[in-house]
Symmetry: D2
């Protein structure tokens, strides 16, 4: 077994000792270990890569027994068992293309069982990569029902909104806590409303950026996973800003998906810890 153990629990003395004892008990070896105690929530989070001669189910039993007194949230995933991403898109292809490209290169350890869309524009692109494409119905409740079925049918681990231009219902979002990743443009200062790049241009901003975040019931306001920016000058038109923004968006979303795929994101209150 070569697996990633993640653990979240209240901070208390002896956590790492319990973990190392449990790893010894299952004949395991610690390859990597990272931990952090969040002072605000008093939560302790830990990511540990363990190799052991035991099988996943054997090791899992031993680890759970050794750690249950901490009342933790635990996950144990064999590295060969890649996370399964259900990707949602609309018409814009830049984020999707980056995910497909990195996936093909082998740099993004995920499986993509299906791409769902509320439009048909990207069908050819998706199918050219040998991935099934399914168009969603226009009515939101119907679409969300199909997405849910798809997640269940394909045993999906998370949803990636790769420029999916539909607001998901609060109920839907709450059904997948910390399992939906969205990408959103970001500016200094921020802008609300339509045509944000045009607003940013009118305001003469010198930096534009993008934020990947978990989706909660409150769209665009969930815990931040990754952010990046680019410098822009007065000579950039709104169209230039949009093009630069696309480049940042695709890089930031791909980075966030990779972090999720490798079990590197932990939630402490409304913040993420990234290992």
């Amino acid at each position: 077994m070569d697996a990633i153990l993640t653990l979240t629990c209240s901070d208390q003395p002896g956590i790492v000792h319990s973990m190392t004892s449990a790893v010894l008990a299952c004949g395991g070896n610690i390859i990597e270990n990272q931990q952090f105690t969040d002072p605000t929530t008093n939560l302790f989070v830990m990511r540990t890569r363990i190799q052991s001669e035991q099988s996943l189910s054997e090791a899992s039993k031993v680890l759970h027994q050794g750690l249950m007194h901490l009342d933790p949230e635990i996950s144990l995933r064999e590295i060969v068992r890649k996370k399964r991403a259900i990707i949602l898109v609309t018409k814009e292809s830049h984020c999707l293309r980056d995910l497909l490209y990195l996936h093909e290169l082998g740099e993004l350890p995920i499986e993509i069982p299906v791409v769902l869309s509320n439009h048909s524009d990207l069908r050819d692109l998706v199918e050219a990569h040998g991935i099934p494409f399914q168009q969603l119905p226009a009515q939101k409740a119907d679409a969300e029902a199909i997405i849910r079925n798809s997640v269940e049918h394909h045993d999906g681990d998370f949803l990636v909104l790769a420029r999916y231009m539909q607001i998901l219902s609060e109920e839907f979002c709450e059904h997948y806590p910390s399992q939906i990743i969205n990408i959103h443009h970001s500016f200094l200062p921020g802008f609300k409303g339509a045509k944000p790049y045009h607003q940013a241009h009118a305001r003469g901003v010198k930096i534009i950026g993008a934020t990947a975040h978990f989706v909660t019931g409150d769209l665009d306001e969930g815990p931040i996973i990754e952010q990046d920016v680019a410098h822009v000058s007065h000579s950039a038109t709104p169209e230039d800003l949009i093009a630069i923004g696309r480049d940042i968006e695709r890089r930031v979303l791909s980075k966030a998906v990779k972090l999720f795929a490798e079990d590197r994101i932990f939630l402490v209150g409304n913040r993420t810890v990234i290992f």
Copy 2:
């Protein structure tokens, strides 16, 4: 004469031709030239470095005659005549220290006739650099009157708010349009109210930044001159964020002051053009 000509006017055919004709007429040579037409406001802005055997007053007359038909705003400054900055501070020293340091190194072509403050904390630091320090009275109207006198007395070209923690009156700000430079922290997303670094920490931002801008009646909302950011991780405490923020603030403010000192900032509507 080795001087910087700046010109702002409505865009119209023949502007550059008029400028080059006028430069030839005063026996001048163009060393640098930058121009930009803002599509939104239809304003044309140009920064030209001219060397000529003529004196400033002779050349100035010729240039004004050759350009007056454009109905322009013009300035002509000999490079040896450095701009004079009146610096305002409160208690925090980081921005002031950077300005003093770069000034001493000769990298910031300004003169600093006086530093004004609503507190006495930084008196020793300022005087150790051989620069007069004057403490302002507590009452805002009195303080602003003294600042105005100081600008007049010292022939000040602009005001630098190097962490001056007083809100200037709307009337005062409007008296110095595009002549007051302020530095302000900036976040993705933005935060209003007190303790912004603590808010940013609570929100788990991955990037913090700073913005230098002209002050208008509406503080923090004037035209943006310069922005920069730094990446931060979950392990940064609010105090760490404040320290990182200080480093960005001082660099961004010093950069903006340098741009102003070199006549590189032009205003087109609510945006700046930076050459």
Copy 3:
């Protein structure tokens, strides 16, 4: 006519005046203008966007007449006449994919008449984008002869080495001065020889980068067009560095190609001026 005029000549009084006179003479209007005098070579370079009611050939005649006394190198290209890029690749797809993607998005104003390769691996990818693919023979002289024919046949404006892993002959390079763009990894400090990312890992570098440059007879040493970097940590394996390097390479090469396509690169001695 909506065209880009580029001009390079020895610095001398009256250049801009001559240009503006010539533009007036052809009934033109200057939309953008950028210029720079290189102090080392004493070369003056200028990029001007001109709109005129006249046709390209009419305006061209007037402009040449008005500027010929400067003994300049001039080019005048209508914006609708996109530059034609002959792309060379080997087996790695990351740079090619980015060029194809940006081209499809409409962000890269070039035409791609053909992709040439010394291997067949990328044929399917290229043809899936509706672009002809041609495999080159193994023997270098034969391959270079075919590339030359291809440039001539397709009226190519420049060559893009998008990870083309063959060293071109000195004679070939000198036949296309400032017309071949290459992408190369870059490190602080630099490394020679094979497996540079492994060397960089062994050296514990904290930054890796990429450089796009013109190819001269001396491979990797031609004038630099664009550079960028990324920060890396001790936990990155050589494979991680390679993946990060790929991301920088594709962005830097695409940026350089865009600069070339928009006539924004000028050569002064061994340096580039980028507008």
Copy 4:
């Protein structure tokens, strides 16, 4: 006791378990813990912050007993016991000023018992901060003897070469392994010899940078601690590059000193691990 434990040893099963057992044995609590196994050298490194009711000497005994079977290199430093930096300078002040400024702000947890220099130029600056200044003799052997005495007399933990323009003897460097931090400009590509910024300008680089590294017998080639860069354009003169370089140098050196002061730098072969 609130202390930082650092440990380096050959990778082997049970290290973290031994550490956590030892921490429990001294009634301690783990506040932070970071670890890394370097695959090349097979070295395991760990940085742990421990709080305990026991005194440093009591806890130290228990920890050493519990860990000695690993045959480790260990250090245990109470956080209140700040590391003592002996700073060496020549004539340039930018790096020194930054260290003094951050030290005064309380952001750099070091003590500075003395500043040594082979010139007298910076005496006033140093003494104005209430820190003793000592001028070194011209003869290298004499100077190094005095530096050694100074380190011993002031119980110095490390040496900071803040633009000290003398090459230290190989013998001297080897006497202080991983205890001398230097700052050095860095370019893409690299340059050897005199006037590197002028060479970089002649080469038209688009990025300049700086590297902080440990000094070994082979100057400029020791393990890299921290690197950063800035983008530059064709319009920057060599003097501009030098000014930009100064800004990067001071930030990179201060960052490296802070990392050292907080026990965050580990050596594995010729690379550093930075926590």
